[in-house]
Subunit: 94 residues, 2 copies
């Protein structure tokens, strides 16, 4: 059984879309860890996804690690690069 | 010198307002820790505040702890309580 983490990129869809992806990640059975990654406004959604997963679907899932960071994004149309905050949450099924 | 943490509640104002509060907290000198607390959409702003503080103003400040949670909010006008996600980030000046 591999413990290589699944990574789910959280964007602007409703939280339940990503919750389903986490559930699928845990249930396909070759991983005990799922990592949520989000940037900017989607950070709040990533926290929602982690909390909904823990409170409703996998009560034995624990928040294993949380980290924050900053990425530089260069707009495709040119112009100055700007900074955007990032969040990573790793959930682990015990 | 007390190490009792300052707590800053992050809401919907621009991030720099809260960055100023963190700087004031660290500079008034009777604390080495400042904790940012946010709920719902303000969670992204709290991460921005922590990152701006660390990258621009206090390069010796470290993210000491991050935690997520859920609070139940009962609307003042009545109706069903709803869940809202919460985030806490503690910054520590070394």
């Amino acid at each position: 059984m591999s413990t290589e983490p699944d990574i789910i990129y959280v964007g602007n869809k409703p939280p339940m879309n990503y919750v389903m992806a986490v559930i699928t990640g845990f249930n396909t059975g070759n991983t005990t860890e799922v990592t949520l990654k989000a940037r900017g406004r989607a950070i709040s959604t990533a926290v929602d996804v982690a909390e909904i997963t823990r409170n409703r679907f996998f009560k034995d899932a624990k928040v294993h690690a949380i980290s924050i960071g900053t990425e530089q994004i260069t707009p495709r149309e040119g112009g100055n690069p700007r900074n955007v905050s990032t969040l990573e949450i790793t959930l682990r099924k015990e």
